[in-house]
Amino acid sequence: MTTGVDLGQPQAQAIRSDEDVVRVRQLVRSVAVAVKLSLVDQTKVVTAASELARNTLVYGGGGSVEVVIVDNGRRKGVQIVFADSGPGIPDLDLALTDGYTTGGGLGLGLSGARRLVDEFEIETSAETGTRITVTKWSR
């Protein structure tokens, strides 16, 4: 985990439908603007959030997201935690391979999201579902 300190209240959003994915994007964008991320980084973190939120919805059967501003002393950043209680990811290495998909997509969502953010952590098991934490720091 990052050694950051929470600034302000974490903002939560349930992911139950396609509209919620749009809400997650808007929430992440507003927080990214608040920590003064550059336009490129805003777009990157919003896109990563969009991918992961859709994964939570499609593969995790819905879940929740929490967005929080973090501060490591030198820089501020956006940290987003996606959690679902779905079936988990059986083969993480395979799932993170470009072009691998079980859902008919492009197979770039998970691997692409990892490239779009600065820190990417994933905990998954069949019992507790999947929990992905990503962080994007301002430059």
Binding site: D18, V22, V40, T47, S50, E51, D98, L108, G112, R115
Partner: protein, 286 residues
């Protein structure tokens, strides 16, 4: 909450006996709450309509808003709330027009005195509450239908296919491209290609805030479908931040032509079709 025949009779007598006074006072109270956003004459007409609807219904005996005989009263209330909803008044500004009747009745009942004054006022008050709730409900219904209409209009509005040049059509995409909209866009584009016989289509994504893998996949599918129909697609409006995001995501557009702006895309197509554009030289006589 309905009034019985006796109470209705007294209500009808009150409203009928002091018709001028009731409507004048009622209009006066409502005017204050609307702060002059509705003309005095218009308001007076509305209040008179309501007054006559209530008086007529009360005159017929039992007043029960859900009964068949109250059709006219319901229609009057619905008309009022619909009008207000469309004119942009708030829910409280609308229902206050009904609740104002309470104040009017209170003054009347107090003046008339009588042994039944309190009993009557409570009964009338309950009736007014019911009328107010009905008005509120129908106000909300009107607003909901307005919102539904707007959502539909937005879907229509956000997916136009425009003709840019002979044989060149363009789809300027604006906003979120979800599956439903992507489907509409693809259908419109393919239909327009058939209708106009255009060999070129430009998909402009300047107005799409984030291009993730789902959006990219929808665009790619649209391009492939257009190609199957013999049309060439160009994607334009790729801003720097979108370009970097697409690279990081690892999305490949393959041999599909992409341009930074719609102008570049149009110039590209014109060049392909052999159209030359040049600035006009001022003609000089030698």
């Amino acid at each position: 909450m309905a009034l019985n025949a006796e109470e209705s009779g007294r209500l009808a007598a009150l409203l009928g006996g002091h018709a001028e006074q009731v409507t004048a006072r009622w209009t006066e109270i409502v005017t204050g709450s609307l702060r002059g956003r509705l003309s005095q004459a218009e308001l007076r007409r509305q209040v008179q309509d309501l007054h006559s609807a209530i008086a007529t219904t009360a005159g017929q005996g039992v007043v029960d808003l859900s009964a068949e005989s109250s059709g006219e009263l319901r229609a009057a209330l619905t008309e009022l709330s619909r009008g207000r909803a469309r004119q942009g008044f708030s829910a409280s500004e609308t229902t206050i027009s009904i609740f104002a009747l309470k104040d009017v009745l209170a003054e009347l009942v107090q003046k008339d005195g009588g042994t039944n004054a309190l009993h009557d006022y409570i009964a009338f008050s309950k009736l007014v509450d019911e009328l107010g709730l009905f008005t509120f409900e129908s106000f909300v219904r009107t607003r909901e239908s307005l919102i539904a209409d707007q959502a539909e209009q937005l879907l229509e509005l956000s997916t136009p296919v425009v003709k840019l040049w002979e044989g060149v059509v363009a789809v300027p995409l604006v906003g979120t491209l979800d599956s439903a909209r992507a489907q509409v866009v693809m259908e419109r584009l393919l239909q327009t290609l058939v209708d106009t016989g255009s060999p070129y289509a430009i998909i402009d994504i300047t107005g799409v805030p984030a291009v993730d893998t789902q959006v990219a996949q929808h665009i790619l599918k649209t391009v492939v479908a257009a190609r199957l129909m013999g049309a060439d697609c160009i994607i334009s409006g790729i801003r720097p931040q979108i370009a970097q995001t697409i690279v990081a995501l690892g999305i490949e557009f393959g041999d599909i032509a992409t341009k930074a702006s719609l102008a570049d895309a149009l110039r590209h197509v014109l060049r392909l079709t052999g159209v030359e554009t040049a600035r006009r030289q001022p003609r000089r006589d030698v």
